[in-house]
Symmetry: C2
């Protein structure tokens, strides 16, 4: 009664193969495999058995086309290698886990053009939502996102205009806050050490806020040093050495991230410099790494995990297709003074 199985063993299987093997219609197989609609227990078992025996893997491409539904969420981030985005990813995955949605990551390397093309590629797969780092995008990218008809969440930063929703912290405010704390502790000759990346808008905004507070107190940066590429820890050491060499009277080093801050801290300890007495230090991000250092670096956590979670929640909530207007969620980082700022 069954057809002879003279089919090409290389050919990939379809619903039809399973349906023939189990003697029911393709539709019923589809129902079983998706757990949707009523199917009798005996049929269900027969179908599952056949599917398993054949090693059938559904074709989601066809499924998505037919159902106009895709369980993918695009996540566009600048980099995977700096510790901060993986943590956002963790928050996203965690939250999406229970929703049937799945994150798909794209990396832009801080290039707006690459970001545009990554967004284009992703949208062409018609995801259920998009999470994009930052508020700065090319004109075209913004337009695509706005038109896509799906929930868009821009994360990390809220200083600017969101396409739809946004979850993040104010980096400007974070910079100010750190400046206040440093000034309150009595430091006055302050240097900045950071990345050279022209498209790291968040670092830029922090510095901006930072400098503004300084200037409000009649101060300017005593020195500044930039780097790009290479081992951040090592760069932190080198930059710190350079700054302290060049400006021996500097009494505070403000780093654009914890990794170079940690390098600077190690350098100071090596040199026997009194921290935080003679020189204070502070970074940004609150990375786990800091816990293992000989002394705890002052920092400000960027709420990375929480940002990922909230962003994913927004996507998941809108999933059922009620196009609600975008919401902007501001999170507030806490200052962790650590051991590298004088206590007042």
């Amino acid at each position: 009664m069954t057809k002879p199985p003279v089919i090409d063993p290389r050919r990939t299987l379809t619903l039809r193969d399973v349906s023939e093997a189990s003697g029911v219609s393709e539709m019923t197989v589809s129902r079983v495999l998706r757990n949707r609609g009523d199917v009798s227990e005996t049929t269900r078992e027969r179908v599952l058995e056949a599917a398993r025996a054949l090693g059938y893997v559904p074709n989601k491409i066809a499924g998505a086309l037919a159902s106009q539904r895709v369980n993918l969420v695009g996540v566009v981030i600048p980099s995977l290698s700096n510790m901060v985005f993986p943590e956002v990813m963790t928050g996203i995955s965690e939250t999406l886990e229970d929703t049937g949605l799945q994150p798909v990551v794209g990396v832009t390397h801080y290039s707006p053009e690459r970001e545009e093309s990554v967004i284009y590629e992703m949208l062409s797969w018609r995801p259920s939502g998009m999470i994009v780092a930052g508020l700065e995008h090319t004109e075209a990218a913004r337009a695509m996102l706005a038109q896509a008809g799906i929930p868009i969440v821009e994360v990390m930063d809220i200083d600017g205009t969101a396409v739809d929703s946004a979850v993040g912290i104010s980096h400007d405010r974070a910079g100010r806050q750190m400046a206040e704390a440093i000034l309150a502790a009595g430091y006055r000759r302050i240097a900045f050490l950071g990345t050279m990346m022209p498209h790291d808008h968040r670092a830029r905004k922090r510095l901006q806020g930072f400098e503004e507070v300084l200037s409000r107190h009649g101060l300017t940066l005593a020195d500044r040093e930039f780097y790009s590429g290479g081992s951040a820890l090592l760069k932190g050491r080198e930059m710190t050495a350079a700054v302290l060499d060049r400006s021996p009277d500097v009494d505070f080093l403000y780093y654009s991230n914890d990794m170079i801050g940690a390098g600077g801290l190690l350098h100071c300890l090596d040199r026997g410099i009194d921290v935080p007495g003679k020189v204070g230090l502070a970074g940004f991000n609150g990375v786990e790494l800091l816990d293992g250092l000989p002394r705890k670096l002052a920092t400000m956590d960027a709420c990375r995990l929480e940002i990922g979670r909230r962003a994913a929640q927004i996507i998941a909530a809108k999933h059922p297709d009620g196009i609600i207007g975008g919401e902007v969620i501001e999170l507030f980082p806490t200052l962790q003074p650590g051991d590298t700022i004088r206590r007042v």
Copy 2:
């Protein structure tokens, strides 16, 4: 002559919209957008203009279904947070960039079941190839991969049987090599400090090779300490403290990764322990971080970038569909003695 544009502005655009807007057939639009087949210059421009004006984004789902081609490569890795896989990813992205192929990442958290389901999900999108970390998978996962009819590359490890191709190093050999070097330097009371993860097969194989060399020299591990979760740097400190406390006569600490090794090193330096005179240390991976430490930790690089590149090359090469038999590429890590093993 043109239909009144009374269409729902929310509706997502299709080829038909562009075709109507530019006055040519859908097929011609498709040809223009894919740069395939002959299209006159004037038509091409008209179409591109229309597509741009409308903000049309092609539907790759439909495209993939029709053409039976998907430009995606699935990459399945255990984790994003430990520095080693992001680097593999970098090698992969880099190499895939010129091929029109695009990596899609899935994370398993070292869980075989999760790995199986990630693989299933990915295969259901019919990617052009798969890159999977490790050689150990569930029965079902192996079967799916083998049946998929696409190039499969298992990366990081070559001690075992590959489903198709493999690119990696022998962790067993790496463990042996490190043991030889340690013994050659005269250390005899050796402790191991590592992760508790039952599914980190590569760490297990390294330890296995390591212990075998010890036992060939009539030795066994003097102590061992395991951890899971938390800040690796901090854990490294804590574990090291514990071991040195418990077994004060230990003269070498072999760590399963550089991060905890670095923590251990910092601890020893804090305590003023003579490294490498009284106690030697070694890690594994060759992470960039080490460059910034006060002293360079002995390690062995895992060829991560190169592994990513070679794996991607294999996928790209097979892309045109000649199902060549699998190849196994062994890379050879080099021992970097650093400053934490006595020179002989």
